[in-house]
Symmetry: D2
Subunit: 295 residues, 4 copies
Amino acid sequence: MHIGIIGLGKMGANMRDRLRAAGIDVTGYDRNPALTDVPSTAALVEALPSPRLVWVMVPAGAITTAVITELAGLLEEGDLVIDGGNSRFSDDFTHAALLAKTGVNYIDAGVSGGVWGLHNGFGLMVGGAADQVERAMPVFDALRPEGPREEGFVHAGEVGAGHYAKMVHNGIEYALMQSYAEGYELLEKRDDLIKDVPGIFKAWQRGTVVRSWLLELLVKALDEDPDLGAIEGFVEDSGEGRWTIEEAINNAVPVPTISAAIFARFVSRQDDSPAMKAVAALRNQFGGHAVKKAD
Amino acid sequence: MHIGIIGLGKMGANMRDRLRAAGIDVTGYDRNPALTDVPSTAALVEALPSPRLVWVMVPAGAITTAVITELAGLLEEGDLVIDGGNSRFSDDFTHAALLAKTGVNYIDAGVSGGVWGLHNGFGLMVGGAADQVERAMPVFDALRPEGPREEGFVHAGEVGAGHYAKMVHNGIEYALMQSYAEGYELLEKRDDLIKDVPGIFKAWQRGTVVRSWLLELLVKALDEDPDLGAIEGFVEDSGEGRWTIEEAINNAVPVPTISAAIFARFVSRQDDSPAMKAVAALRNQFGGHAVKKAD
Amino acid sequence: MHIGIIGLGKMGANMRDRLRAAGIDVTGYDRNPALTDVPSTAALVEALPSPRLVWVMVPAGAITTAVITELAGLLEEGDLVIDGGNSRFSDDFTHAALLAKTGVNYIDAGVSGGVWGLHNGFGLMVGGAADQVERAMPVFDALRPEGPREEGFVHAGEVGAGHYAKMVHNGIEYALMQSYAEGYELLEKRDDLIKDVPGIFKAWQRGTVVRSWLLELLVKALDEDPDLGAIEGFVEDSGEGRWTIEEAINNAVPVPTISAAIFARFVSRQDDSPAMKAVAALRNQFGGHAVKKAD
Amino acid sequence: MHIGIIGLGKMGANMRDRLRAAGIDVTGYDRNPALTDVPSTAALVEALPSPRLVWVMVPAGAITTAVITELAGLLEEGDLVIDGGNSRFSDDFTHAALLAKTGVNYIDAGVSGGVWGLHNGFGLMVGGAADQVERAMPVFDALRPEGPREEGFVHAGEVGAGHYAKMVHNGIEYALMQSYAEGYELLEKRDDLIKDVPGIFKAWQRGTVVRSWLLELLVKALDEDPDLGAIEGFVEDSGEGRWTIEEAINNAVPVPTISAAIFARFVSRQDDSPAMKAVAALRNQFGGHAVKKAD
């Protein structure tokens, strides 16, 4: 088997390594000459045996659309494009339709595992036609973690279902992180009573209901920095959490923990909160409560 | 009618003025010699005609309990104590029982209106026996706003009901303030499109669904400081919001907006959020996402 | 002044009445022959003096777009279309651009006040070019409530700003309603202590911090049905609450109370909650907790 | 080593089995004659070698207090009581003080693991004096899961710290469960796109960021009942989630996901929501929106 990968960033490069380790030939293309195997997308396409299999692993949005648009002009009927990036599921419909014009097939693959995927394998959620998914199975089997296929891979539905499942995965992930974080803050606040916060998280790793991989990561983080003193409570968010809420709203699904998690991130990035200025101003108006003057 | 008031702070002093303006005799006691009419609680009790009526207007908690305990030793059967402070409703049961030992009656009165009460009148929610409430009605009528009695006064139930109603009032108040504040922040954030945020709030004062007294106060605040540039988004909270949530939890009543409002205040007072440090640490662990180093 | 109104539903008909009462000529068109003044949109356009002023008051989305598209083919340079419906602000950009092709002007007007607007006047938030807003001012003055113009009308910015302000207004409205509702539930739950829930709301109308028009409406509702026994806790939502959250997410603005309000509505419409089935299933798995079997 | 256990319900009986399997002598007492080894608490105390070690495993609250009060009258200086139930941490202070009067030592032990603990071991969080914790270590080592001690056991601080850590553990647990549940509902709602919801959860077990023990339990539940059709979305809550929020409020720690999780449980148990009746009534008042009549 011989696959092309477009995009050799942190994730793409790890995938190339993992695929090659599994005996699959990989030709990679990246704009960065230091990383790429071939000089151009066209060269990548030429290097692949027909019918071709191209894995796109570039930033979601305009860049992914540009790459797929370029591929639509280069690939031939029967070829297969897999978008393994963090694309919004609604983009999949557009991308699949674009490629379908020339008979090129499309699979969307949600990929989880972060920097740990190289060694642990990547959790995979894919959407597309069954025959195309079957055809790419050696690739999926090489990328996914060891163990039963169904514990690290799912064919979730037609085109879009893979990225949809990944989007929901990330929404859940946001809320899980926030859940542990709230518990951390409460334990840390009661330092009159609680004398070993890192030890508590460490002890939760076996036998408890809350044990998880995220918990293990928090234990690692607390091992390195027991009071997280070196880290600022400033948290970015990527599109998937936002899309999850938008989808929830569109489908009348209540998502109070997922939205709480993303709102907490928004607040974490504010120097001052306009909303809380308004509340302070109101309290001052009706109660004569003192306000803190901005510097 | 002749009433004693203990506590001549901002609220107590305004009440004294409003009662006197209504033709009620008031003797006030305050620890502050500059404010008090008499030198001691004992002197206040002596100055009042029997059966006595004493309005307690001091900080909730230990201070209120101390004042009521002192009164229990000074007052006689048939006297009436009204706690007009922001006591927790559960304290009312204790205070009423303490006074009942010597036949002293008790009413709890939740009072709303803040610094505006002197001129607008105070909204009153009282709890206690019907005959005692009736007896104190001239005082309530003098304190409450103009207009029909039932639009500014309620006898909500037995002892405790008045402060309970006031507690819920304040819980609602927190959530109302937060509601406007979120809208403010969203309008203010889109300054590419929205050119007159204060003008929008001003225009909501007539005809709209969201018109309210709090809205009018926000308009006043924005008149004085159109972008709230002089105010820091730092907001204290008093006990009543917290008690509302505790009561809601105890009674299995979901209060998502009231709790969101109080959590927003908690966050507003943090220099950095331990919870968000934990989230940042987690993201760094699994995704290799950069963290902001604390200074 | 002579204006055309397209859409004579509850809101449009009330507006026609209010405008006529102010001495403005109104020609109305509605698909319903029982309501309309003229047989067609074309007839409406013909009936108006040039430059024409047409107020569109039809359901947001496809219907509004259809009406504006039809108007684009009928109106002439210098005419003015005002969309007074609940359109999404982003639709305003499209509609304005469509009309601009033939030199037709456009204003978006957010309108609040519901069925009470006929008598109280409608709160108005408009977006568009200053000269066009000025030109339509007699109409706005007739529709808005009595009192100073700036307390019931705002020119919030360019095209889109009016509907944006109305969207935020509705988001706030959702959260305000939920705030009162949570307090209502808590008071109602403690019927061992609280003996007059409607009386409490009634008493909050004067002097308190929480007094508002919505509170007055809740008092009316409780007057008619003191325990709301005739009403099911089933609540629809319109687009504007959802758009508010979507905009908040897009602009990284935390809106915990507004989202809590909309999620509560979603839940209110569910026969059973898939999410809570999942939680029940989980508890059963780890704790052997009994689950309720579905019938 | 020989230990007494009071309370041989699901948890206590499993602990007895696990301790015996580790070679520790156990005498158990339960009110239920079918379960007990001895006829009374007094007989249990007599059966134990001095200094005695008694593990209390009965329902938190009045029952635990009654058992500890009885033990205080039976035990002698130097004995040790371990409360392994789900007591509120604040009860530990009272219980420890009560026992201390006669020189009896006290440890509070939070225990996680549910019905799986017999085979997997129980996660343990304990509070108390270091020498007492050391003395009971053989018991803790027998109960906790295999593997390094610190991954299934923590000495979290003085008396109260163990139950405090367990309380926070459960608060986190609530939020984690709710997080997965929200994702489940969103996936299940989009059955037009998502064709294998159970398969998605199954595939998240390896390689993904959201993998956890709770996820594995959800996979088991979905294996048994792929659409959870046999389970009603009705969820009880135990004290610990509520106490977590109360502690958070008392310490000004924002816990939006934990509170959202508990509020969702409250709602799940309501036939109809008084709050949403109020919202429906309000909408009806201002907008003339139809309400659903209660049957």
